[in-house]
């Protein structure tokens, strides 16, 4: 177990180094000259030379890379000249909001997806399974921005139950919970569709295993087999899916934050893309990649903890 974890963590570190290299290459693919972008087109040659030296842009690329990485490791993610703030402090304001959105959607999605997926597996190929499968296909196939806007149309514009905009202030997320209902619902529905389909097939995969037949043959009731044996085994891949789907859910959060004007990391990223604020774009990319790698790592370790067979295979 220990050896497996060390190997797996080592792999994660290599992947993270890869991410920094890719992000650094992107940084240098960017059109235009960063110094000119900061100083404007009418800057004098001396000013340009000075800032170029100051930013270290005249050094060889590999030196620039190591400087950039050591800055990253010290929590220095660069400076947004567009917003006139360090990227790290922008992220510090935005990340908690995205964590709240993503975390609550993820928890709700799992709490709903497991019973729904179980129901579908038990009632396989019956009308209720078909209806739920159909619904999850539709939610899964729907652009999430459209789902969000349909929810606004129904629950905000028509029924007037919830506001169409998420809370804006730094500390209002908890005090204005009804503003969070629609954003969380949108992200939950998109995620739920995927998770319930996964739970269903994971349950079905377990029901054909020999241990199920053995348990039934020795007289264990169907209900007991389902809850005590099948569900436990079926949940293992679902738990790991949580970690693996983190990237997808963060992508969803970008769209949801944009639809509901929720000032999280996704909206920051999107606005940076529109205004060519590259330090912010790259800072968010590094943070998001770190989150994804950590999610995968936790998923794999959880998998190894819950299912000892994994450790011996690899």
């Amino acid at each position: 177990m220990f050896g497996y974890m060390v190997r797996r963590i080592g792999q994660a570190i290599i992947v993270l180094i890869g991410v920094t290299i890719i992000t650094f290459i992107l940084l240098h693919l960017l059109p235009g000259n960063p110094v000119r972008a900061i100083l404007g087109t009418r800057a004098s040659a001396i000013d340009i030379k000075q800032l170029t030296d100051q930013l270290g842009l005249n050094k060889p690329l590999y030196v620039q890379y190591f400087v950039w990485v050591s800055n990253l490791l010290h929590g220095n993610l660069g400076f947004s000249y567009k917003l006139d703030q360090p990227v790290a402090s922008l992220l510090a304001q935005r990340i908690p909001k995205t964590l709240f959105l993503v975390g609550s959607s993820l928890i709700l999605a799992v709490l709903l997806a497991v019973p729904l997926g179980m129901l579908q597996a038990v009632r396989r190929n019956k009308p209720d399974d078909y209806v739920l499968t159909g619904l999850s296909f539709i939610f899964y196939s729907m652009p999430s921005f459209w789902l969000g806007i349909l929810l606004i149309v129904v629950f905000s514009a028509t029924l007037g139950w919830f506001p169409s905009e998420a809370p804006q202030d730094q500390f209002s997320v908890f005090s204005q919970l009804n503003g969070m209902v629609l954003p969380v619902a949108t992200l939950t529905l998109v995620t739920l569709a995927f998770f319930s389909r996964y739970t269903r097939s994971s349950m079905l995969e377990q029901t054909i295993q020999d241990y199920v037949r053995t348990a039934r043959a020795k007289g264990v009731s169907r209900r007991a087999v389902l809850f005590r044996h099948v569900l436990r085994n079926a949940l293992i891949p679902v738990i790991t899916l949580l970690g693996l789907s983190l990237g997808g859910i963060l992508s969803g959060a970008v769209v949801v934050e944009d639809v509901f004007n929720y000032p999280g990391m996704g909206l920051l990223f999107y606005q940076a893309a529109v205004s060519d604020d590259f330090p912010v774009l790259l800072g968010v990319t590094v943070v998001v990649a770190l989150a994804t790698v950590l999610g995968n790592l936790i998923a794999d370790i959880l998998y190894a903890v819950t299912d000892p067979r994994i450790r011996y295979v690899s």
Binding site: I17, W146, I149, I208, S251, A273
Partner: protein, 310 residues
């Protein structure tokens, strides 16, 4: 319960996939297509999906030949008309006929979807098969590159690349392809690892066949099932990506159009009550994506049966 278990053991394919030719030679590329055909005949959802795809392709590409509309010049006199006999789906804010607009949008949505899937799968197959066949350090380096790129979530990568490249349709296709090839690369590499130790690959080596020949003539043809299934999902994903990018304003610039662009343009007029600007495009996207997912799911089920029978 017992019946459930039995049908689960032999899902979808029924009798057609049952008895294999002797010697277990069930995995020539010909049988993949036979199996896929069998799945389609058995699986009603797959037939519905395929029917929808054919309908959408005909609607978008043949439709404009039958239903002529003027999609070049603005005509403010007929802007924002509700559906009527002259304009079955109404007109948009600059006076384009929406039914004709929907056909035009479908053309680019489907074109981008197919082209991006082709690029993604093309790069993925070559990358994955090369890594898997080469093994060792080459494999490790190539796959760590894939891992590192996969760590950046798709939409973040798309927005980042979209911000770097100014988007036209060909650029958009390349950007989506460049982001989406990672998953097929992983899948194909996994299959290559199991294929390269097969007797027939060993036999080619003994007979003096080079790596290139093994790759092109023996490995890649045997991954065709995986590739086709993945490509189907790729088309669905690409259509959603394009729609999302259009909504975020990073998509195709105005004279060109696609379903996502029409949907998000229409949304800004929702409060004026112009519902016909929104629902047709939105429904077209959902139907098309659902259709590709139905077909992909059915083919994947068939393929899993085939892999079990190996």
């Amino acid at each position: 319960m017992i019946e459930d278990v039995r049908t689960e053991l032999m899902p979808a394919v029924g009798g057609a996939g049952g008895p294999m030719p002797e010697g277990g030679e069930g995995y020539s590329s010909g049988s993949v297509w036979r199996l896929i055909l069998a799945v389609f005949l058995e699986n009603r959802l797959a037939i519905v999906g395929l029917g929808l795809i054919v309908f959408m392709v005909l609607f978008s590409f043949v439709g404009p030949l039958i239903y002529h509309t003027q999609q070049v010049f603005n005509n403010p006199n007929i802007a924002n008309l509700p559906p009527s006999i002259h304009h079955p789906m109404g007109t948009d804010p600059v006076g384009y006929d929406m039914l004709g607009r929907l056909m035009l949008g479908g053309q680019s949505s489907l074109e981008i979807g197919f082209a991006a899937a082709l690029i993604a799968v093309g790069i993925g197959v070559i990358w994955g098969a090369t890594a898997g066949l080469a093994g060792g350090v080459v494999d490790a380096v190539m796959m760590r590159i894939v891992d590192a790129m996969l760590a950046i979530p798709f939409l973040f990568a798309l927005i980042l690349l979209g911000a770097i490249f100014t988007t036209s349709i060909p650029e958009l296709i390349i950007v989506i392809g460049l982001v989406a090839w990672l998953v097929p690369a992983r899948l194909v590499r996994g299959e290559t690892l199991s294929l390269r130790v097969r007797e027939y690959v060993q036999a080619v080596k003994v007979m003096g066949g080079g790596s290139g020949r093994i790759l092109v003539r023996h490995i890649i043809p045997n991954t065709v099932g995986t590739i086709v299934v993945n490509a189907t999902f790729q088309v669905a994903d690409a259509i959603i990506f394009v729609a999302t990018l259009s909504f975020l304003g990073i998509g195709v610039p105005p004279p060109a159009t696609n379903w996502g662009g029409e949907l998000s343009n229409g949304l800004s007029y929702y409060y004026d009550g112009y519902w016909w600007l929104i629902y047709p495009a939105g429904i077209a996207i959902v139907l098309t994506v659902v259709a590709f997912n139905f077909v992909g799911d059915a083919m994947r089920d068939a393929l899993e049966v085939r892999l079990q029978q190996r």
